[in-house]
């Protein structure tokens, strides 16, 4: 049981996909313009992550190593498309808010990364729990960043006006530069905590940090 709980909480803090594993940065920057968009994206991505983790884990002994990437991507893409159709039909405002980043969940590194790193090597239940944990961790950071940016650029969180109208809004936080500022700030806080708790990890870019490095044909090309 301890083991299961450990897997679940892994994604929340110890191996938080956004700030520790540094995966899925692109949608993070793009959809955190408001807290509600962050929440919506987080739930959509978590749903895809859990479903794909379950399926990939269930098929891990069946899918030959040679074709595992095409197989993973097909499975992930299917779930993303289903989510997209459901969102378009029942949550149209979320569709407008997420825009192109909804279909881009297919190439979200978190999902492919966890498929490679965990689901292909672990049992179904464990993989499902990992999906839940990672999804929650991702959503947590998205909502935190989204709230932060929304508060400063519009004065509200989840649409609830918190800052008085008279206070000038720093609207830059709602656009691209603001995303980078916020991400950097959050990363700095996490690193500070790591130093304080002697937990500093090495975050690398390029091949080292990429979940697909085992299967990549173009090694070193992304640097």
């Amino acid at each position: 049981m301890n083991n299961k709980v450990k897997i679940l909480t892994n994604g929340l803090l110890k191996e938080n996909p956004t700030l520790r594993l540094v995966l899925g940065t692109c949608p993070t920057l793009a959809v955190t313009t408001a807290a509600s968009s962050g929440l919506g994206m987080g739930i959509a991505a978590a749903f895809v992550l859990i479903c794909s983790n379950i399926v990939i884990s269930a098929l891990r002994k069946v899918i030959p190593d040679k074709v595992r990437l095409p197989a993973y991507i097909t499975i992930i893409a299917t779930f993303v498309t289903i989510v997209q159709m459901l969102v378009k039909a029942f949550f149209t405002e979320l569709d407008t808010a997420l825009g192109v980043y909804l279909p881009l969940i297919v190439v979200n590194c978190i999902i492919l990364g966890r498929a490679e790193m965990f689901a292909s090597k672990n049992k179904v239940v464990d993989s499902a729990l990992d999906g839940v944990g990672m999804g929650l961790g991702f959503t947590l950071i998205l909502v935190l960043m989204g709230s932060f940016r929304e508060l400063i650029s519009k004065g509200s969180i989840f649409g609830v006006m918190l800052l008085p109208e008279s206070l000038d809004r720093f609207t830059l936080m709602g656009s691209a530069p603001g995303g980078f500022f916020t991400f950097g700030l959050f990363m700095a806080i996490v690193v500070w905590i790591e130093i304080k708790t002697n937990n500093r990890i090495k975050r690398s870019i390029g091949c080292e940090g990429c979940p697909s490095k085992g299967a990549c044909a173009g090694k070193g090309e992304c640097e």
């Binding site: 197989a71 299917t78 289903i82 159709m85 029942f90 149209t92």
Partner: protein
Amino acid sequence: MANKKNNNYENVVKPIVVLVVICLITSTLLAVTNYFTAPIIKAKEQQAAYAAYFAVLPDADNFTTVEGFATSGVEEAVKADNGSGYAFKAIGKGFGGDVPVIVGVNMDGVITGVSFLQNSETSGFGARLYDGSADGPAYAAELTGKSGSVALGQDGVNGLAGATVSSTAVVSAVNSALSCFAEVALGQAAVVEQAAPTTLEEAVAILLGDGASYTPVEFATAGVQEAGALDDGSGYVFLAVGAGFGGDVPVAVVTDASGVITGVSFLQNGETSGFGTRLYDGSEDGPAFAAQLVGKSGSVALGSDGVDGLSGATVSSTAVVDAVNNALNCYNEVAQGGAPVAAPVAAPASLDEAVTAFLGDGAVAGEAEGAAAVYTSADGALTLIAVEAEGFSDETAPLTVATCFDAEGVVTNLWVDVSGQTQGLGTKAGEAAFTDLFVGLSDAAGVDAVDAIASVTESSDGVKAGVAACMEIFQTMKGGN
């Protein structure tokens, strides 16, 4: 044996089978989800599209799209199911592209509401239509309640202050919507805007209708590409060009049998957008200019007799006037049997070219005291004398003046080498406007009487002195003979 079989199975068969099965299952899943969600998505998109129409025609309950209308300038037309009216998405041509306008019209033909969709007009100008400021809704309110047709500056329709092009685009869109209403609700004929013609046939069809036909005629006038006589004997048609800013400006001119212009149409040209292109881009400027030319004959000139041209597009307007004059010259040639007006010959660039131009081929060189060069034409009728006169900086830049006389000593032609004179000043002394003043003179008194060009005294006086010197030499030659 077993190993090989295993390998085959592992390396080739298994991957294929697994992938195919995965794809089959995922396709099924997708198809099922789509089957359930597609109709819902479609309904939602339809609602969103119609949302704009509900805003302008509030009494409507639901809309049905109207098919098969022909009015140009209208992208979509919908009819309210409860019969309260119609709504249109019309497009006007603005500064930065299309200006989409939604217009609601009730069954009496009165505008019930106007709203502006996003456009690419300039921020702070045409963009005020939709950017949330009060200007857009104010303009919409000015248009609400109108019927028939609207015009900027009339009946309280003021538009956006300072954004005339965008405001005119809106008016054009609203009028297209009202025309479309006339077509779909009242059954009137559609107003279809025609694209600018690219050939003389198209232009003639626009000006005279599809039934007009013409037979091409031979011509030699410069600046004209096609000429024809109308088969019904009512006149002539010409496709003439003038040199514009970005190339030739083609103009189709229709005249009646006596040479009076009855129609002008501007073909597509390569002039600057917003300037010379206004001739054919559908704005009112082109037709207005064309109307100024109708009724003229003989020749036209910019700035006289009501021919104002396009404001701010002088080069293109001058090109049009040149083209029309070429057409009228051609009329003289084909209808009246006049001599074709050839293209103006480029001025001679050297003394030798001047000799050939004035005297023709076969000129004979001669000598005379005080002259730099003397030539006599082959038939002896013309003599050209060239002297070195004093211009502006005579030390470094001699002013060669070559005067051509006929047998009586009357100046027939003058060529001046002003290459050493000041550009824009002294060079004017070599231009036709000045040199032509000497043609027809035969004595020094006449030369003296020619006015020097303002601010170009040294060069002008140099030319005059040169011509006088040539005359003296000619007299000496003749006297000596």
